[in-house]
């Protein structure tokens, strides 16, 4: 019966000579080559499905039944923004005797998408959507006007 200390020493020498520890690591890498382990997303051919609560580009919502803009021009989003990048002008509508939003400017180049504007909006008008494709060719293109916020921005799809 060989001495257990001697036996483990022999084992150890064999492990060192035959690079057992390195092959164990290589086996892990080899195991991960199986096609079922591929987790690369082929963007832009397949676009990722982002979460519902994702904080992307802003959108001004309209009432689904009447089609009226939900924004009441209260300026709370502009006050909540840490970067002061929302600029709203509003004027009093003589017919409904209520304040109405006229222009809405949102500067996405300075926005950090924190979601504070979405949180304070009392009428669910301002919402950060799942749209994350917001690249433009110019710095001015990063400033969203009311029209762009209401209609949403569709990223240009190239053939790939």
């Amino acid at each position: 019966m060989r001495n257990p200390v001697q036996q483990s020493r022999l084992f150890h020498i064999l492990r060192v000579i035959f690079l057992v520890d390195l092959f164990q690591g290589l086996w892990v890498t080899f195991r991960n080559q199986h096609p079922k382990n591929i987790c690369t997303e082929q963007y832009p051919a397949e676009r990722p499905k982002v979460a519902e609560r994702y904080r992307g580009l802003p959108r001004l919502n309209r009432d689904p039944e009447t089609g009226e803009p939900l924004c009441i021009g209260c300026n709370l989003c502009a006050l909540a923004c840490p970067e002061n990048l929302i600029v709203i002008t509003s004027e009093r509508n003589e017919q409904t005797k209520r304040k109405e939003m006229v222009t809405f400017s949102f500067d996405t180049s300075r926005c950090m998408f924190c979601g504070l504007c979405e949180e304070v909006c009392p009428s669910d008008a301002l919402e950060l959507t799942q749209n994350f494709e917001m690249a433009t060719y110019t710095r001015e293109g990063q400033v969203l006007t009311r029209k762009m916020c209401e209609e949403g921005i569709e990223a240009k799809r190239y053939k790939c």
């Binding site: 390195l22 904080r55 950090m112 949180e119």
Partner: protein, 370 residues
């Protein structure tokens, strides 16, 4: 007789510039070398200084919350936790139990995510090119949970002063439990790749030794202190957010070398899974937000609150003058203080060890420079 030139000296001053793949950010280390032996170093930082503490004096308490995520951007949730705990201390409110448990779950997931980045990039610097892919693949699972919960993967802005903004989404518990079931096997896989690999052992054992006394002198905390043998963790010493309810071990090392820091962080990942499992079993019902006024105006005073961030002791010293904006917010960054010990750790070693030590200190330049 030719004149003496710079070639006659054996000392070489080498610049490991701000743009370098192994400095984990914009860190400049000026090395004084004798061949390959390091005689001294000088760190130049401040390339990522954004004046976060100055910004804090010009924003309200709620508005400043998103800015803290951007300091330690790898583990953004902990920064938010520290800040919210500090303001809650000033206001003398406590988050409701449900919010506290969810905070613990998210913070521990964030700790796992931070250690995965550390492991991947540290292994990449040493030369092991495979673990980084596997670490980031597991990190995707964690970031997906963050995305579904609060809407962002990296700069999460997950917590609010007084609790949480969002209720848990449907399927949160299942996904977290599935992650806990899947993850320990992956940690075993990383260990299979690295722990007994002769190259890994050869590059890490007895490199960058920092013993316990030096750790305390340099104010170094976190896994670096625990690897030196000091069994100290703020989650056990001064528990916050309900950590006293969970049963977990503090892993320690023996020699304080780079290999011990590696084993400590691997074990911390396993212990984090243990905490998450305990927390997700028993999420109490109730509100997620405490009764906090709409406009936050803490009374005049100051408080220092610190948490165990993945990198060390992250502290917030907030001074309030009774108005809606903080008077002074000081962030005590663990990476900044840990980086000071770099000189002590690499002196007398080789140049290749500088890369290993920067990796093992686990610094994030966003936190060093703020």
């Amino acid at each position: 007789m030719p004149d003496a030139t710079f070639l006659d000296s054996t000392e070489l001053v080498l610049n490991m510039g701000p743009q370098h793949p192994s400095t984990h950010g914009v860190l400049r280390v000026i090395l004084k070398l004798d061949g390959e032996k390091v005689l001294g170093t000088d760190c130049v930082i401040g390339y990522l200084h954004r004046g976060v503490e100055k910004i804090a004096e010009n924003r309200t308490y709620v508005q400043f919350n998103p800015y803290v995520d951007r300091m330690d951007y790898v583990a953004a949730v902990s920064n938010g936790l520290g800040y919210c705990l500090a303001i809650e201390k000033l206001l003398n409110v406590e988050a409701p139990p449900r919010a506290q448990v969810v905070r613990v779950i998210l913070t521990e997931l964030n700790r796992i995510a931070s250690h995965l980045v550390w492991l991947g990039t540290h292994a990449l610097d040493i030369g092991a090119l495979t673990p980084v892919f596997y670490c980031f693949r597991e990190r995707e699972a964690v970031l997906n949970i963050f995305e579904k919960y609060c809407g962002a993967r990296l700069t999460t802005h997950a917590f609010r002063i007084g609790g949480l903004q969002y209720e848990l989404y449907d399927g949160f518990e299942q996904e977290v439990k599935a992650f806990c079931d899947m993850f320990p096997a992956k940690v075993d896989e990383y260990e299979e790749l690295l722990t007994r690999n002769r190259i890994w052992v050869g590059r890490l054992v007895n490199v960058g030794v920092l013993n316990a006394e030096d750790c305390k002198r340099y104010g170094v905390t976190g896994p670096v202190l625990r690897a030196a043998g000091v069994e100290w963790d703020l989650r056990k010493a001064q528990p916050y957010s309900g950590y006293e309810k969970y049963d977990f071990r503090i892993p320690t090392g023996r020699n304080g070398d780079t290999y011990d820091r590696y084993t400590v962080r691997m074990e911390e990942m396993r212990q984090s899974v243990r905490i998450i499992r305990q927390a997700v079993e028993a999420i109490p019902e109730g509100p997620v937000m405490a009764k906090v006024p709409k406009v936050i105006k803490p009374p005049v005073g100051e408080a220092y609150v610190s948490i165990e961030a993945p990198k060390g002791e992250l502290g917030y010293y907030v001074v309030s003058d009774g108005s809606t904006q903080p008077y002074r917010v000081r962030v005590r960054p663990p990476s900044f203080v840990n980086l000071q010990a770099l000189d002590r750790m690499v002196r007398g070693g080789l140049v290749a060890d500088v890369v290993a030590v920067i990796g093992t200190l686990d610094i994030v330049l966003g936190e060093v420079d703020r």
